[in-house]
Amino acid sequence: MKKLFHITLNELLLLRKDRMAAVWMIILPLAMTTIMGLVFGGFGEESEAVVIDLPVVDHDGGEMAAMVLDILSQTENLQVETAYDEETARQLVTDGKRAGAMVIPSDFSTAIVSGQPTALELVVVPGGQTTPLLEGMVRGVTSGFSNVQTTVEVAISEVQRATGSYDLDYEGIANRVVATTLERLEDPPVRAQITTVGGTEEEEFDIFGQVVPGYAVMFAMFTVLSAAGGILEEKERGTFKRLLIAPIPQWSLLGGKLLAQFLMGVGQIALMFLFGALAFHVQLGNSLLGLSLITLATCWATTSLGILLVAVIRSRKQIHPITTLVILGSSAIGGSWYPLFMMPKGVQQVARVTLVAWAMEGYNRLMMLGGSLADVWVDIGVLLLYGAVCFGVGLKLFRFKEA
């Protein structure tokens, strides 16, 4: 047992002496986590408002046209410009200097209050990026005025039917309807209530809660599998043979190396979580025990996968491309880069063959959904089983010495 620990210590000493390993284990993962978190986090945050300058040419100058301008001015993301004549406004759109322009016809106010058809003209270039947005806005305004017209017509006909009088102040009624409608816009009596489930209103999707465990698992796999490949390097260099002909039990020799790989993996994930918590306030969830156990199980499975790969591949030149393929492939489909639940169902099923999927499911449940240890027992169990199978097969195939 003493020799096992000496071998482990020697592996860790070699790691400390290897400057490139420090880059791989510490600097690169932290840098990648930060970069990816910031890049993807930008999509999750409220984006800076895009402001569209909209020239509006008012040929009407009446009360209804003023209301149109008022509504548009209060519209978010819209900057109304009234300084241009129609020709200039159209030219600005043609030249691509404005996304669109609006023309209010000269009879607009009269038409509204008299119930006559009219139109607000929106000048746009086809296929413009903001054209749908502008169309939506104008349709909203015209829809409002159509409702006003309808309301006025209904109201007047009802008053006429009730009083039998046709001597009514059409314009006054229409103005009051429009004014009331505008007031109601600020505090509508009927509104849409959006309810979200799976979290409180205060909690926003924390991209680092996904990126930190995702990249922690991926880089831990790089570290552990690279260290496993070190066994092949030792075989080629001759130090493994030197150890085999020393009086060391084979289980101590391999156990010492595997323990070191396991500890490197645990250390790396712990470092990434610590960094995430301190630098980006990543929520580690409600179960530190669950988080610890899923980490230990993940590193056990990864270490065992390493010994299996070393036993099967047997050549240092081959092991690096193969482990890279295994790591990137399983990270891509296993949920290291995107949450597993956002993947297509088919991919989610295929991902179950990777240890990354089980690890990430556990981390997501604990860190993003606030789960407890009870919620990740299955993930821990599968990872332990995964490790046991890889370890058993790897040990069976591993060649300590020449036949």
Binding site: R237, A246, K401
Partner: protein, 312 residues
Amino acid sequence: MNEPIVAVEGLVKHYGDVVAVDDISFEIQEGEIFGLLGPNGAGKTTTINVLCTYTEPTAGEIVVAGHSVTVEPEAVKRAIGVVPQDIALYPDLNAVENLRFFGRMYDVPKARLERRIGELLKLVGLAEHARRRVEHYSGGMKRRLNLAVGLLSEPRFLMLDEPTVGVDPQSRNAIFENIQALNQQGLTILYTTHYMEEAELLCHRVAIMDEGQIIALDTPQNLINTLGAGIIHIGIKDVAEEMLTRLRALPQVKAVARRDNTLAFETLDAQRALLEIIGLFNETDTPMTSLEILEPNLESVFIQLTGKQLRD
């Protein structure tokens, strides 16, 4: 006679269809420097691998320091030291760290290990470079540290597998001096090499190996003496049996062997024999295609025995 420290009887090692070692037997006495001389692929390293328990023999009885390598490999490992052909060191560690780690693998107690590290670094002339990373050492320095690691456990029997490959003359001399000093202190050594001058210089007895077999085993001097006073090789196109009989009858010729288009003469006196041989060739008008006089040494012995160069 004392029990030999190594007793090999009928060692055979196959790798699939390839016969690496083909039924060899030898003994090494305590205090001896025993050489295994042969070209690359002769089976020297395979023999060492079996003796140090790294490789399972296909057949044979092998006892090292009183323990069977197949039955008691752990006891064998504790009695031996091995200096492999590869530089089996951690390049990222310095000399002390390398020695300390391997010393721990041999259960050398801490205080003794530290003392031993100091002694060995001094012995191999690396005390001043003890804290330098091994990756920055020259090839010779690495070889010397490789030797020091093999001596950490104070073994009874040390195996050195081609310890001077790729080494500068200065380091080679230092390694020779180390080996001779260690042997004088009582250490038994098995030394493999394909440099005949090394075997001649260092070894008390030499086994010459070729194609997995021991083709000669004796002291270097006795092996050389079998050549008489020298070897003459003469290239020929063809020679009649009668001519061979007449050549064998020459007074200064001990023996004549024919290999392909070469006649190899063992002589009593190479210079006189040469005159007799040339005289007979002239007399019979037999053409020569080449002529070579070999100095009597282990290389010549090997050539005489196999018809091949050691460095082939």
